[in-house]
Symmetry: C4
Subunit: 196 residues, 4 copies
């Protein structure tokens, strides 16, 4: 599975419309190298040779044209904090709607759904997953530090939402990160339609 | 039609996101042998050679790697109780939402829809189909015995829901089981949107 | 364009789930011969050589196995009353939901939408389209006579709904009939979501 | 990317059902020549050789059969006012529903969504996008002059809605226009579902 496969699939679901979203995968850990989608790429027809390789300061190190998404900092932060191998960021309708509906609580709890077991390490539907919601911010260094703090305060969370923006999740492998996208999107839609 | 075809189709509908769901088909009746999807398989791109063959105690007998879903017991139970040749378990938004909305009644009645005639043996829209809803449970032997009891108390039912979990249906053939998935999902969505 | 192309397209939209729906096309007018989908066919993967040819009494005249849908009588009735060359019957969520919501009025009026201009002969969004709703009935000869009466009372209508069942539309050509399906389904969904 | 690619993609999303919508691309600026979809074409399987080339008075100049949509005048107007290279007009459920819901205000404001940054020149989610809503009109010269006036009064807008009709957007390139379609549709759906 490659980031191009992931892009095709998430595009078909309508979760990365209009060149939105960004994906990364760890190429090497020491020193840290991430393959990341360039800003403005259509996720439904990604070519692997347009992926940028960046270092931990988000500088492009493989000499390709294009610039990494400004959100590359969040990817690096997540990889560092969680030891993730892949980070996927999507913009779905339901993550956007729920990030607003639950903004005042700074997150939402999801509990009692069998689908929770699709999140790595969860073995019962009685699990309570807290999905933090962070205010959106165009100051990415500042946002990255909020992400760091939130990941640290919620060491068990598998994903977070940016308010009126979208969802971030990750995984130990790319297939696991993809599974997390689908599980979290499912849960958000189920809750969104229940609350309707 | 193979389980791989079924997987592709149900994946496109969004009813088996994130490796959820599981499918089985009877290979032999005496002694009972079921081909069943392994735990954690992506249903949209199933390979037939990853299917496990299990006996009535859910032990893998074809020597392949992978372990059967913990829910294999429910498949065996349904095959025994109903004489089914195929069992399909899906996780859709509407089955999840309605399994909660109607949980207090332990089921929902569906009546008056032409689509009911897609359920084997039903010849009029005036048929009243009762879809039992069972509480979800991680203790599968216990859940299997509840399934046995419910199937026995509702000998005419074509499907049941597990609360906040998903839907089980079956058929005398694999195409019939697939048709039942589509019919039940349609009916649940129609009811879900009517009640909106 | 063939009925198989139409089937693939309508199946992708989710409007003929579970072998529901039926399609026909006039092969000859005098004596009347219709190519019609057999009962129980999957519309998403129709083979042209499974189509049945029937006469005006719905008897199969091309010697193929399979039996025509019981609703073949409605197709013949529509072809006769409207001079249509193709008749398409679909089972969508929104036609089902709205056929119930507007049942007490025996139909619904659609007015003011640009999409109305996709209905043959309509040249302004100010057109008022009346979509009759008929009670569903398993007595097909009786239902066929109600259809005859309704088509005669509403000589300008392009489609009708059967209550909690689905939609019938038709066209001078198969592409026109397909266009009518899409236009009517769009309008019903737009109204359904507005009323939400 | 061609108009045929755009058509396939927008058709899959269900935004150009039943031959609705129309697309154009600037071929030459002086004198102005637009390649435009002919009236009645299925957008999901456009052939490039059915595109018409028109001049600024909407006369066909490449000798092909078929007539340009009556709305070609709006395309010409947008190209002139905005210097656009491509104009895309779609008919989605949510643009139709919201064009009615917000008709009394003659438009709707969209603010606070990250997806706004997909609109050319927008660099923050705090941007406030005003999407004008114009009454639908079958008198196209009159409607074209209203479009001219609205574009002139709202020099920063990226799209407008025609009431109970659909959406127009455009771009400096065809990919940019496509991106604008997806961004605006996403935003409308997010707002539509929030308000539900």
């Amino acid at each position: 599975m490659t980031l191009a496969d992931v892009g095709r699939r998430l595009d078909q679901r309508g979760w990365v419309l209009g060149t939105s979203g960004n994906f990364s995968e760890v190429v090497r850990r020491d020193p840290l190298r991430l393959a990341i989608t360039p800003s403005g790429a259509s996720k439904g027809d990604l070519c692997l040779d347009e992926l940028l390789e960046i270092d931990e300061d988000c500088r492009v190190v493989n000499g390709r044209p294009g610039r990494p998404s400004a959100e590359a900092r969040l990817h690096v932060e997540i990889v560092r904090q969680r030891g993730a191998s892949a980070v996927l960021h999507t913009h779905s309708i339901w993550s956007t709607v729920l990030s607003e509906r639950h903004a005042s609580g700074a997150g939402l709890a999801i509990e009692g759904f069998e689908m929770l077991k699709g999140l790595e390490g969860v073995s019962t539907h009685q699990h309570r997953e807290w999905i933090p919601i962070l205010d959106n911010d165009q100051d990415l260094p500042r946002l990255a530090s909020v992400v760091r703090e939130v990941l640290s305060s919620h060491p068990a969370c598998h994903a977070f939402l940016l308010r009126r923006h979208g969802m971030y999740t990750w995984g130990d492998t790319l297939p696991q990160a993809l599974r997390h996208v689908e599980i979290v999107e499912f849960l958000l839609e189920a809750i969104g339609r229940t609350g309707c």
